[in-house]
Amino acid sequence: MESINARFDIDWPGFSLAVDLELPGRGVTGLFGHSGSGKTTLLRCIAGLVRAPKGRLVFRGEVWQDESNWVPTHRRSLGYVFQEASLFPHLTVMGNLRYGQKRAPAPVAAEDRVSLDQAIALLGIEHLLTRKPERLSGGERQRVAIARALAVSPRVLLMDEPLAALDIARKREILPYLERLHDQLAIPVLYVSHAPDEVARLADHLVVMDGGRVLASGPLKETLARLDLPTAFSEDAGVVIDAVVASHDDNYHLSRLDFPGGNVVVAQRHESIGHPLRLRIHARDVSLALERATGTSIANLLPATVAEIADADTPGHCLVRLDAGGTPLIARITRRSLDQLGVARGKAMWAQIKAVALLGD
């Protein structure tokens, strides 16, 4: 009853969408794919901004669309953040925030309630309330747009590439706020993005789309560790690991991060011991060795067992999925190395990790 069931069939000239999905009713679901993959159209169908003729949408037990029912967008309990902030230019920031808030019925469940003050505080826009949108920076506008969507106390938050129109500095400005939403709000979030880093950082559940079809849908870590989705990720293939800060080495300015089955050492973190951190290890940053290498500058060496081998995005490479004590890793190596090292399923090897990306920097 808590899930979101969506089935849509669209057949437009030059574009088709055929999805049948069950999405979790909590946490952040990343809808990932290249432009034209149908992820935005799927989100617009869920919002009721596009009416797929043969669609069925059941939101947490509430029918929003089927053969005989159609709930128009303004009666769906959702918040929507568009790629461009799309603030109303004739209203102040406060006027924009209040526009939806005063029209929305009070939510039934207290845990779903987001007060205006809470939305303002979450996005850190207290100092902007009296300004007109034209007097805001791009990042500030998008923060106001997110707060405006939250202020209606939606039962689901739909975000359509909210960072895509922003430069890197603005993205860095907003990402921490998105993480706060993830940590502090009970409502599910559907987050459309073509940026693997954003999805890896924010999502709990991942839907990979291509050509209007769903290639995969599952928990983020499992789905990223799959080798049959290389067309979607190509050289951004890699895994996400949830780790905790285990110890600090003040002498060498390093920190050790532990996760099930191993640990990695990274440049010193400011977080205290026990703090959770999400890591991303790209397949291109993992190489394989038969024995534990000595005389190498690579600090992070993990024993791992080969679990699966698959083709990569170029004919000269392949992807190897490893099991490092329960934590999956993917290595992208050349086909020649594969043969020379005799890499095969079940073989015990050493994974050499050249770089660890900490999501949240």
Partner: protein, 225 residues
Amino acid sequence: MFLSETDLQSIWLTLRLAGVVTLILFVVGTPIGWWLARTRSRWKGPIGAVVALPLVLPPSVLGFYLLVTMGPNGPLGQLTQALGLGLLPFTFWGLVVASVFYSLPFMVQPVQNAFEAIGDRPLEVAATLRASPLDTFFTVALPLAAPGFITAGILTFAHTVGEFGVVLMIGGNIPGETRVASVQIYDHVEAMEYGDAHRLAAVMLIFSFLVLLALYLWRPSQKNT
């Protein structure tokens, strides 16, 4: 006195006519402009063309058809007679009805352009913020299209002030009832009163210039909204 009593009367009548027509067209033209801006119907082209007709039609042609329609045997004439309103031609309200048709494109087209310029996005945003379509129209579409409405109002008013051919066909030349400024100037010229014609013509010239000046001076500020 600079202008004669009848000249002033004709100016007052002209302003009254233009004001009433502009107000009526705000009410009539807005839904037409909205429909033309938003519809995907195949009737968009034909309806748009009908609205634009007065731009190219000789005023005498439009006036002739309106005269026939509003006359004793025309459908509109029979309706007004049945309602006990009498006949519209050669009355002030006959002029109003004729001018509404004549000035329609000057209201509809700027309003339509303004609505089109808003695009779908603000309306979608309003829908996701729980605003019904009617609510969205009044709280988002109208405020965002406001500059277009000001342009449309000024153009409609000014164009109605300047009309001549339709007035002559429908209204004739009744002092205080249908003799507007443009007709009054024509009368002066016919009567060889060139001095009087000059004075009234100058007033009209200055008025028209000031209206257009206001429009052009005000226009650049639209970009900031």
